[in-house]
Symmetry: C2
Subunit: 503 residues, 2 copies
């Protein structure tokens, strides 16, 4: 067999064109090293950078050319623009002072796993389109299931199964559609979705996409610790049932976004089961902490009652975004709701059911080989180190909380849940908002905000790859110093943008 690009019968392949072969192994080796070094330098530079950019809306767009080039440019030119134009406009999620939202942490093994996935360039929509991609995914997701202590019902060998999707939002949507279809057989009333008032916005978004009217979404009251109240859930379900409506989908949140509250899953699961509703556990952030046996009970208790259970190794488990792991108790329920297999996608093994085609379990048809990065993190970092990270983050957050609590100007709004704590100035929301803005503008840290018990909170989520205990201590020094200094906070939003450069 010939090498790529070689001629046959004296007739040249007309490609390569001006830019050379689109994959030239030697150029790739050379350029690949440059990019690898660029990334290593970038990570080494992170502690010295401000976490947040100060670019104005439209500023980056204005610095980019208005049209694509006709002829090839060099890697050096691209990396030069990356340094000059793009990087100064980024929020540095991998910065050791990034405490906002939830961490979306990466690691060496994970970046290399993503690189291998891109380098192999396979597309695993069906088992036959790359058997090893489907089977490695099934296996490593089951490795994680075991590490978390999730029940056997989610194992691929029985009726269940696990998979990787891009995000908890997409996974929830697929489960919601499966629940909707399962409930459809039960009658003609309106199907109802239940989640706590503090559940993630993806519940409402998924319900909207799946065609549930706003009136079919019940936000259930929480207790003072932000946990869904089972008594309120049961009352709502009872009322709906009595009114001829169909309790369809109940979301239990294990780790709410605002304050990390963990809903009482066993009680919620018992109610869902009694009324025939699908129980989905959204453990997007907190779920992976169950790799520590001492933290496991509150996280996985009740999972045996769940129809689906999802968590994000791309949050604090060192797998770069995107990697959402979703387990389902009945893969047939999911596949029957989502499968739409035209003739051109049929395969003998798929039709015979001796394999699973993971595209039947998700919204998109195509699939990247995401299992590689999870595999590489689990193997090259190992379960022991991953557990130690969780324990460190929890301990450091507790220590940080003690510092905040000891300062009479501050108040803890929600005590730490794993490595998430919220706090505020006693002076009130305006003072807290001003302090948060000043602290974020200072450079070394980034916190996001939340509402906790009606109050504006500074929200600290610990889990960054490079974040160490010292970074939390530094962060507290900065916050307390700035709270004593006071100051005004100028506003920002002004002109029209999106993103103004477009002529």
């Amino acid at each position: 067999m010939r090498e790529p690009g070689e001629e046959k019968d004296g007739e040249p392949d007309r490609w390569p064109g001006a830019g050379g072969l689109p994959f030239d192994p030697e150029a790739f080796r050379r350029e690949g090293r440059v990019v690898i070094d660029w990334i290593a330098d970038y990570w080494a530079s992170l502690p010295g950078r401000p976490v947040l950019s100060d670019v104005e809306p439209g500023e980056v767009a204005a610095r980019l050319p208005a049209a694509a080039p006709e002829t090839p440019e060099s890697l050096a030119a691209v990396l030069g623009d990356l340094d000059r134009i793009i990087v100064p406009g980024l929020t540095h999620w991998q910065h050791p002072g990034f405490f906002a939202y939830f961490p979306a942490n990466a690691s060496g093994p994970s970046i290399l796993g993503e690189l291998l996935s891109a380098g192999l360039g396979i597309q695993g929509m069906l088992w036959t389109t790359s058997p090893a991609a489907s089977e490695l995914e099934g296996v490593v997701v089951d490795w994680l299931r075991q590490l978390l202590g999730l029940p056997d019902r989610f194992r691929l060998g029985g009726d269940g199964g696990g998979m990787i999707q891009d995000s908890a939002s997409s996974g929830l949507l697929c489960c919601l559609v499966a629940a909707r279809e399962r409930a459809a057989a039960d009658g003609t009333g309106q199907r109802i979705v239940y989640a706590s008032a503090d559940a993630h916005s993806s519940v409402v978004k998924g319900a909207k996409i799946a065609g549930f009217p706003a009136a079919a979404i019940r936000r259930i009251e929480t207790d003072s610790a932000g946990r869904l109240r089972p008594d309120c859930l049961e009352a709502a379900i009872r009322d709906d049932s009595a009114a001829g409506q169909i309790p369809c989908f109940v979301v239990a949140t294990v780790g709410t976004t605002a304050r990390g509250a963990i809903d009482p899953v066993p009680a919620i699961g018992a109610i869902a089961r009694r009324y025939g509703a699908w129980l989905h556990v959204d453990a997007a952030w907190a779920g992976t902490a169950a790799i520590c046996p001492e933290l496991r009970p509150r996280i996985v208790d009740g999972a045996e009652l769940a129809d689906s259970w999802g968590t994000n190794p791309h949050k604090s488990m060192l797998v770069n975004f995107d990697c959402h792991c979703l387990w389902i108790a009945s893969r047939h329920a999911l596949a029957s709701a989502l499968t739409t297999k035209p003739d051109y996608l049929s395969t003998a093994v798929g039709d015979a059911g001796v394999v699973v085609d993971y595209s039947d379990w998700q919204v998109p048809l195509g699939r990247r080989f995401r299992a590689l990065k999870l595999w590489m993190v689990l193997r090259m970092i190992g379960a022991e180190s991953l557990r130690q990270r969780v324990r460190d983050h929890v301990a450091w957050t507790s220590e940080f909380t003690d510092l905040v609590a000891a300062d009479p100007a501050f108040e803890i709004l929600s005590s730490p849940s794993l490595a998430l704590v919220t706090f505020a100035l006693r002076e009130g929301d305006a003072a807290t908002a001003g302090l948060l803005a000043r602290v974020n503008r200072a450079g070394p840290v980034f916190f996001s905000h939340a509402r906790v018990g009606g109050r504006l909170a500074i929200r600290m989520a610990v889990g960054g790859t490079l974040t160490g205990r010292a970074d939390l201590l530094d962060a507290w020094e900065l916050i307390s110093a700035m709270s004593r200094a006071g100051g005004n906070e100028p506003g920002r939003p002004e002109g029209p943008s999106p993103f103004s450069r477009f002529p």
Copy 2:
């Protein structure tokens, strides 16, 4: 500021654990080079590999450990297993003899773009979570819009906009939801979706997810060339309107999966507009060919009537999966259907509308920095070379078709549409199926199948990164030789798998 991992006040950070820092720049440099070289070697090895794997269901899973390791393993151990267990179980999508489905081609610049995206590890859900990620995305997607000759209405400066999603399926779903919400204001009848009988399975899948009952999906008759018949569409819409139903969403396909047929978009658009339905153009595969001015008219004609228009640079434009570009005429229609912004995601610039938050335009909340790979392909390969590739593939496919047509045993079932042709043995479907199986088992090539005019077709889609004219000539030699040799095709599906190793 301290370096990561450094101590403060004599108190050590407890991490690093057994596995070292999760990102150690020096280890990353060293290991990154090894992985880069591994990928270069893999691509160089492709022409000598069989395209398809011969593993049995469950075989790969059986060769993997039953549980994750407790302690770290080396990169060498992982790459060893990749070579021994994973690669032999892959379908090699980047192989020069891959002619199945649609190409999902990668390139050096694209792989490096994906690597940079993983290495930066930012998450661009909101403008503020990385301004440069949103703005680069807006700009490069507009570069592509200009290269394709798409109308100004899709430009971010006005009411429209462009973005990158993972797949055409997801993009279509979002547009369908926006159309459903827009139509909801018009009345209480059932909203109806229209697409040709040959439209992609993602239409039915999207409609199912969005809650449309099966009875609300009209598959419109096609003409003998596989194109949606506008007269049949108009009749269906007229009947539905007369019956009090709401024509909601019309899909025009530019390049059907089975045979590459291009629906008459201007006529379809005129009808959709007359009845107030949303027009979505699914140009997933064929769309990027519009970078060639001489091919453009049939592809983009009618786009000025479209509410949304999508194409996949991850098919034949050398951007590795995933990269679907979606343009919409009214970004407000999309955002108002999908936005669910809780307090913790609100930002001053977002609330003021001086930026767009792309997560409001898609299903998932999180977003990878996909614009980098599209940027790098456009810059490092350049528009001229990308056009030449399309022209080459079209010319080679035409030449291949002439060879097939000259063989009396064969019949062209659909003449080439761009670089896609289907053909069959005159002897009938059973003979074609047997030949296809034998050819695919031979090793050097992989074709998928389709139904064309009720007949089973061997389907050839040309667009692989390494594929040259010689590979098409070799493929034809193999096919014609095997058609003369004849032979039997043993069956395959047997035992229970999914994927049997799970105990």
